[in-house]
């Protein structure tokens, strides 16, 4: 279990994270999303024990992560900007990883190198960006982490490798109850894999919820009335409204049955209800005030 409590962090007077809370359950795949500069990487660097909190706590299984070797041995971390020793090839890196991570699985490493078709003898610095990512993934997964922390992991990977990467991750979650924290801008991909979502904005956690619950709470509806009387949407939490001729398009934050009961009172001739994608939720929750964004998208 990863728990961040009231975390504050400033850099040269700039408040990067403020009073931030995060809860990742054991065996869960948690997606961390947020606008550019929201503090995702800073938060991840706290969870991996690289940065020291100004205030607040960062705990894994109840103990502080910072400078804790027994916990760090069980964390696998792939940063956005990869780092390899400059003259090392994959084989040498694997040797280094093996000396650091007690749970290193040589058999898995050898299997993965074959499966990803990586040349063990070539210098890692000569690898392409995508291949370096693959190498980092092979090394990290072979260390059999209990906590896998990924910062923009699928950037620059082709669709076939992406699928393989997710397969490995899901398998370890299913088999060993590995806990995953993953940040990404690829919301569609996250939506397909995560069970919990945290939306970060300006150093604060805006929303942290079970993904399906989050989605069952916000709806897009298309509705038309023959004889609209008064305000047919009274009592609903309308986030956005747009009219196209006689058809209204609304984004409503209410439970499905509440929306249905209010709308059906006025006997609509058209009433379609669609769940929102994570991408749309993201835009409405974070870009709500920005009308320019809205008018481009809808």
């Amino acid at each position: 279990m990863i728990k961040v409590i009231n975390l504050d962090k400033s850099f040269d007077g700039f408040k990067a994270l403020s009073d931030l809370n995060l809860n990742v359950k054991k065996g869960s795949i948690y997606g961390l999303v947020g606008t550019n500069g929201a503090g995702k990487t800073t938060l991840i660097k706290h969870v991996t024990g690289i940065l020291k909190p100004d205030r607040g706590e960062v705990l894994i299984e109840g103990s502080p992560v910072f400078e804790s070797i027994p916990i760090k041995e069980r964390i696998g971390y792939i940063p956005d900007d990869l780092y390899f020793f400059s003259s090392y090839n994959l084989k040498e890196s694997a040797k280094f990883y093996r000396s650091i991570y007690p749970n290193w699985n040589q058999q898995r490493y050898e299997h993965m190198v074959k499966q990803f078709e990586l040349n063990e003898k070539r210098k890692l610095s000569k690898f392409s960006k995508g291949m370096q990512k693959q190498a980092a993934f092979v090394l990290t997964m072979s260390s059999m982490p209990d906590y896998l922390i990924l910062d923009e992991p699928i950037d620059g990977l082709d669709p076939i490798i992406r699928k393989l990467v997710w397969k490995y991750i899901v398998e370890d979650v299913a088999e060993r109850e590995m806990t995953v924290l993953v940040s990404s801008h690829n919301l569609r991909e996250l939506e397909g894999i995560c069970d919990s979502i945290g939306i970060l904005s300006r150093g604060k956690m805006m929303i942290e919820r079970d993904l399906d619950e989050l989605k069952s709470d916000i709806h897009k509806i298309q509705v038309a009335f023959k004889n609209p009387a008064g305000d047919p949407y009274q009592g609903l939490n309308v986030l956005h409204k747009e009219s196209r001729g006689t058809v209204d398009l609304l984004i409503i934050r209410n439970r499905k049955d509440v929306v249905e009961s209010v709308i059906n009172k006025n006997h609509p001739v058209i009433f379609d209800m669609l769940p929102l994608s994570l991408e749309e939720i993201f835009i409405y929750e974070l870009g709500g005030g920005d009308h320019e964004i809205e008018s481009i998208i809808f």
Partner: protein, 131 residues
């Protein structure tokens, strides 16, 4: 067993619930058949095991499946399916939409009634299990 459509508006959780339900309703999965374990299904579909767990739990709640701890998850026999009023209401809504469409394309009420009777006739071999 079935495929997950990532482009669908339906969530993966709903897709799993609906797919398994369909397999049971069409008889592809029969009463007492064993379902793949959460782990197995998660690996075959590359879907988060927590999502599958939740789908199984929902299907159990709706009476389609039952779990014996240590043995796995099985398909419940239809007799044990208590007609869920909410579910019936949902299906009724779908029928209402279909009837609206039939009326719109010029079907008379009598014709629709005949259609429904025909469809019910097709299912006359369905033995009513005490409901």
């Amino acid at each position: 067993m079935f495929q997950i459509d990532l482009k669908s508006r339906k969530s993966i959780y709903e897709q799993i619930v609906d797919n398994i339900k369909e397999l049971i309703i069409t008889g592809m999965l029969k009463a007492e058949d064993k379902l793949p374990s959460v782990r197995e299904l998660s690996k075959t579909l590359t879907v988060n095991p927590n999502t599958i767990q939740k789908a199984y739990r929902e299907l159990e709640h709706q009476g389609f499946l039952y779990t014996v701890s240590g043995l796995g998850t099985f398909v419940a026999s239809p007799a044990e399916l208590a007609a869920d009023e909410k579910l019936i209401e949902e299906i009724k809504d779908r029928l209402r939409e279909n009837i609206k469409e039939l009326l719109f394309i010029g079907c008379s009420l009598d014709r629709i009634r005949k259609l429904l009777d025909e469809l019910l006739e097709e299912r006359s071999d369905w033995n009513d299990k005490g409901n």
